[in-house]
């Protein structure tokens, strides 16, 4: 695989760029699970989003850890019925949890944030902290809420095609111009990811894998300017293409008569 080898062998800048490009491409192209014939995939996108939104709201309101756990169990069951492998689903969701909860949940366990019955006293860098029972409970509640809401959000994004997901936002009063702009951004993000990947390949084919740091910086700076200029040019061309097909600044959307038509 070209991508793998270049990720392993390239410089730090190249590795970072290609990793970002790879993430964008995966995020924009990954519709494998959305195309499967599972339970969630069979629901109309509007209903699906509304249901998930209500479930997320419930998870935020609930104060009972067991009930939130039940909601998380329901989310896992839905993933299972939607033909999403559980290990993949857990990896996809749980990877975000430490990031989100670390800086919020950990301070909450100490008495300075959550006063109450002291469970243990700890000393870090000469500072004494007291872990309280109430602190631990609120931290656990917070982590459980984050885990459940993130899982529900990931579930809906995995089981809905991006185009449908964006389109269904119209049902919730999101203006058509906003939906259209976001969907176009999404579509061209992929093109620019491919462009960046090609530029990296072109540089590598001419100057080799090892690029001196200073020269690498110049390449990056030059290509940022180059991509900026191409983006500008492309946006003008796309606007002309829209004008050519009758766009007058007022977006209209196609009504689907039958889903399977």
């Amino acid at each position: 695989m070209i991508r793998t080898s270049s990720l392993r062998n390239g410089s730090f800048i190249e590795r970072s760029l290609l990793a970002a490009v790879s993430f964008i491409k995966e995020a924009t192209l990954f519709e494998e699970y959305a195309s499967r014939q599972g339970f969630m995939q069979g629901l109309a996108p509007g209903i699906k989003i509304l249901t998930i939104f209500l479930l997320i709201l419930t998870a935020v309101i609930l104060k009972d850890l067991a009930l939130i756990g039940l909601l998380y169990g329901l989310c896992l069951a839905l993933a299972l019925f939607s033909e999403i492998p559980i290990t993949f689903f857990l990896l996809r969701t749980l990877i975000f949890i430490p990031l989100f909860s670390l800086f919020i949940a950990i301070p909450a366990i100490f008495s300075s944030v959550s006063p109450g019955q002291v469970l243990r006293q700890i000393h870090i860098f000469g500072i004494t902290g007291m872990i309280t029972s109430q602190g631990c409970q609120s931290a656990a509640l917070l982590v459980a809420r984050i885990t459940t809401t993130v899982s529900l959000a990931v579930l809906v994004s995995l089981t809905t095609k991006h185009a449908e997901l964006l389109k269904s936002l119209r049902h919730f009063g999101v203006p058509q111009i906003f939906v259209m702009t976001v969907s176009m951004c999404y579509r061209y993000l992929y093109l620019f990811a491919v462009m960046v990947e090609n530029i990296c390949g072109a540089i590598k084919s001419r100057v080799g894998i090892v690029i001196p740091h200073k020269r690498g910086q110049k390449f990056v700076a030059w290509n940022i300017a180059n991509i900026w200029s191409r983006t500008n040019q492309m946006s003008e061309e796309v606007y002309r293409a829209m004008l050519s097909r009758g766009y007058t600044g007022e977006p209209r959307s196609l009504q689907r008569i039958k889903k399977n038509e």
């Binding site: 519709e31 992929y190 050519s244 097909r245 009758g246 766009y247 959307s253 196609l254």
Partner: protein, 270 residues
């Protein structure tokens, strides 16, 4: 009765006021004609097509479309703009620019929808255009996931759905495989038989031979250097070679080097 669709009179156009793109172009295009615009890279072919589609405007000279002066003021009027865009459709060279919607279905329907057709009519046009290009199976696909050939077919379908009187095509066969090229040629000819005017810019002389009945040749000076019947221009080897449309081909026979113009159209290989 004047049957002219486009009339260009001494048209000059430059980008940013200093990069000339067209320098004194005169041209008349009649209804139902099949026009090919040929010329080396950077001779102003694409600019001319954008001009005919009312996307750019001359700095000097005049463009008339359907008897009306085609300028910004004319197209600023919503009724004029809608009427003009219903009559003229442009297939761009870069399908990635043309296909900006989240799905193929929406891309094909974009034109009819924004030109004010009713939803039922839009659905009918979507059906007809996708069937004529054989892209029904791609309707729910995301455009950037398609192959080059599929993208090109969808781009053509997105213009055919408008059912315009004039179809303008910029390099319609670039990067396509032979079978798809044949399909595109048949489609253009079929559209012309139904009364559509065809205007295309291309480097593909096979396409010119198969489709066009009138050819305009652009030079590096960004103006028309010659125009005439397809046969008259296409079989003038010296002229084509002079304008970088065919190239000299060297090869060796028994230690002797031969040089001749290289072309494959017209079943002639001199």
């Amino acid at each position: 009765m004047n049957n002219n669709i486009f009339e260009l009179n001494n048209v000059h156009l430059s980008y940013l006021g200093r990069h000339p793109a067209l320098c004194g172009v005169d041209m008349t295009i009649g209804s139902g004609e099949k026009i090919a615009i040929i010329g080396a890279n950077g001779t102003g072919k694409s600019t001319l097509l954008h001009l005919l589609d009312g996307l750019v405007f001359p700095h000097q000279g005049q463009v008339k479309a359907f008897g009306q002066v085609l300028n910004e003021e004319f197209l600023r009027d919503e009724e004029n703009s809608r009427a003009f865009r219903r009559k003229v459709g442009l297939v761009l060279q870069n399908a990635d620019i043309q296909l900006f919607c989240p799905t193929v279905r929406e891309d094909i329907a974009f034109g009819p929808l924004h030109l004010g057709f009713e939803q039922d009519e839009v659905q009918q046009r979507l059906k007809r255009a996708s069937a004529s290009l054989g892209v029904e199976h791609l309707l729910d696909r995301v455009p950037y996931q398609l192959s080059v050939g599929e993208k090109r077919k969808v781009a053509i379908a997105s213009v055919l759905a408008i059912e315009p009187e004039v179809i303008i095509l910029d390099e319609p066969t670039a990067g396509l495989d032979p079978a798809t090229i044949r399909q595109v040629i048949d489609l253009i000819l079929e559209a012309n038989q139904r009364g559509k005017t065809i205007i295309m810019a291309t480097h593909d002389l096979h396409l010119v031979e198969a489709v066009a009945d009138k050819v305009y040749v652009f030079s590096q000076e960004k103006k028309i250097v010659r125009s005439g019947a397809m046969e008259e221009i296409l079989y003038d080897m010296t002229f084509l070679q002079e304008h970088n449309l065919i190239h000299a081909h060297n090869h060796q026979h028994h230690h002797q080097v031969h040089s001749h113009p290289h072309q494959h159209f017209g079943h002639r290989h001199e």
